[in-house]
């Protein structure tokens, strides 16, 4: 996808934005996102009237204002000639908002486009939220009746991976530790305190073999990225990163295929990244930094293997040895990822793209990765049966 630059970005820290029970909300969804969008445009040196397209992540069921994209556009005084849309498809939702905003720029329909969204759902009753989510991640007639939660699918991955490779829960749990190691210096992160392995392992189980700190906490967020062409970005003279490759792949499953296949192989992740790398004219070895959509510890392990960063069955060992953490040779999710930066599912991809931008522009502060020149972002749709990848570089 040559032809796209990110020239502005802003986000709230990930965490609880919903008011505590009985308390009055500081701001509603549109006010929280409105402030973030104005900040992103301000950073880019443009105003709402410059925007031609706005692509929103579809709001979660907790968002009371429906027709949200239209409502939000009116609140910001946007006048659009490209498009106004809300998009969704499970974990690639944020990536799709980015992709479709980018498409409008590439097709000449937008000089400037926004990819943005807000999710304030931590106040929802958790039983209710899960009743909804079981309808998302399974066949409602032949799978949902058994109560499969979204992360149960990752637990299947973990159990099978341990069975096949001999990796232990403790090996995999190191992902939770290194996530905190990175998040410590990320002002947007939900959890910044260091963790010890014992602490992780003694937590109550959520979906065996994954305990409370190996799966994501509920989280809210709001984020906006501002896109334009590389030419326009250069003319503005603002610091920018460029998308140099894009790839999508699906293996045709919804969570799981209907005949035997290796659920830990994530072929869609491999395919999407390969397509993006090819377009960017580089290989996985040329990637200095990667943000992976990885809700659970095991997910980061499996994606790192699917991308070819480590041989099959060696991803957990790489985490345990510190290779993917602070100071390692294969840093993954320097934002802290879903476990520490936090995971508002529809927005996680946009937060990942934002982190790559900060790193590639050299302004990631104490977590700055030296020599980060080329970054890979990947997000997924339902146990990585489909994936969307982007390669980013600093705009020359």
């Amino acid at each position: 996808m040559p032809g796209i630059a990110i020239i502005g970005a802003a986000a709230t820290p990930v965490g609880r934005l919903a008011p505590r029970a009985g308390a009055m909300a500081e701001g509603f969804d549109h006010e929280v996102l409105g402030a973030v969008a104005l900040q992103a445009m301000s950073e880019a040196g443009i105003t709402p009237r410059d925007i031609d397209s706005a692509v929103f992540t579809a709001p979660p069921p907790t968002t009371r204002q429906l027709g949200f994209g239209s409502f939000m556009a009116a609140q910001l005084g946007l006048r659009l000639r490209g498009q106004l849309a809300e998009v969704q498809e499970m974990g690639i939702t944020g990536g799709l908002a980015f992709d479709q905003a980018a498409a409008d720029v590439m097709l000449g329909r937008a000089d400037f486009a926004l990819a943005l969204g807000v999710a304030i759902q931590s106040g929802a009753d958790s039983g209710m939220a899960m009743d909804h989510s079981v309808r998302v991640v399974g066949d409602v007639d032949f799978q949902s009746p058994f109560g499969l939660t979204p992360i149960a699918w990752y637990a299947f991955d973990a159990a099978r991976y341990m069975h096949e490779t001999g990796a232990t829960r403790a090996d995999i749990a190191h992902v939770a530790l290194k996530s905190r190691g990175f998040a410590r210096h990320n002002p947007l992160a939900q959890f910044r305190e260091p963790l010890g392995l014992d602490e992780v392992l003694r937590q109550p189980m959520v979906v065996e073999p994954l305990g409370r700190l190996e799966v994501p906490a509920r989280a809210d967020g709001a984020i906006c990225l501002v896109l334009c062409s590389p030419e326009r970005a250069r003319a503005l003279g603002v610091p920018a990163v460029e998308v140099t490759g894009r790839g999508f792949a699906s293996d045709g499953h919804h969570q799981m295929g209907d005949h035997h296949h290796d659920i830990t192989a994530f072929p869609a992740a491999h395919g999407a990244a390969a397509a993006a790398l090819t377009e960017a004219r580089c290989s996985i070895k040329d990637i200095d930094i990667a943000e992976l959509y990885a809700p659970c510890t095991i997910t980061e392990v499996l994606v790192s293997e699917a991308l070819g960063m480590f041989p099959r069955g060696h991803g957990a060992a790489a985490a345990r040895e510190g290779r993917t953490g602070p100071g390692g040779d294969r840093p993954l999710n320097t934002s802290g990822g879903c476990l520490a930066r936090g995971h508002p599912p529809s927005l996680t991809a946009l937060y990942g793209l934002l982190e790559l931008r900060e790193q590639l522009l050299g302004r990631a502060g104490a977590r700055q990765l030296q020599g980060a020149r080329r970054g890979l972002h990947i997000c997924e749709l339902g146990n990585y049966n489909a994936a969307l990848a982007h390669v980013l570089e600093r705009l020359a």
């Binding site: 039983g127 209710m128 899960m130 009743d131 989510s133 079981v134 309808r135 399974g138 066949d139 409602v140 007639d141 032949f142 799978q143 949902s144 009746p145 058994f146 109560g147 499969l148 939660t149 149960a152 637990a155 299947f156 991955d157 973990a158 159990a159 099978r160 069975h163 109550p204 189980m205 959520v206 979906v207 065996e208 073999p209 045709g252 799981m256 295929g257 209907d258 005949h259 035997h260 296949h261 659920i263």
Partner: protein
């Protein structure tokens, strides 16, 4: 080839819907048979039953009875689940590869999840409001 029957008091958390096609499946299950579909165009065997073949797009399935024998491919115990299930405490779900080829996901009965690779037997579970299918260790089902 009737499957073992298990009675589980209480209602199903999210009861499956039934339509004029899947009614055949659910009534056969009630009678102890687990049905899948085979595509008359390409012979692809599917579970759950499907009107459209995912392998070739043909819309010409025939019903076939599955043995209910399979192998546990993976399993997890869910300790925090939806309100509709969670009331009963942790429950095990597993991926089963059936002897005939199809893969499915289902509830796994028993106090502890069986080791991955265990031989499994599909069973019919009878609830206050209808039936579902589930899996148990093959040895347990034999008892």
């Amino acid at each position: 080839m009737s499957l073992p029957q298990v009675v589980l008091p209480g209602r199903r958390g999210i009861p499956p819907r039934v339509n004029t096609f899947t009614a055949r499946f659910w009534s056969a299950l009630e009678d102890g048979a687990l049905l899948g579909t085979r595509c008359n165009a390409c012979a692809h065997l599917t579970f759950p039953p499907r009107r459209i073949c995912i392998a070739c797009g043909a819309q010409d399935p025939e019903w076939i009875e599955l043995s209910g024998a399979g192998t546990l491919y993976s399993a997890t115990v869910i300790h925090a689940g939806p309100s509709l299930y969670w009331a009963g405490g942790p429950y095990t779900v597993g991926i089963i590869d059936l002897a005939e080829g199809p893969r499915l996901v289902t509830r796994v009965l028993g106090a502890l999840p069986p080791p991955i690779g265990s031989p499994m037997q599909m069973v019919v579970t009878h609830h206050d409001d209808g039936c579902l299918f589930a899996a148990t260790l093959a040895a347990a089902a034999d008892n």
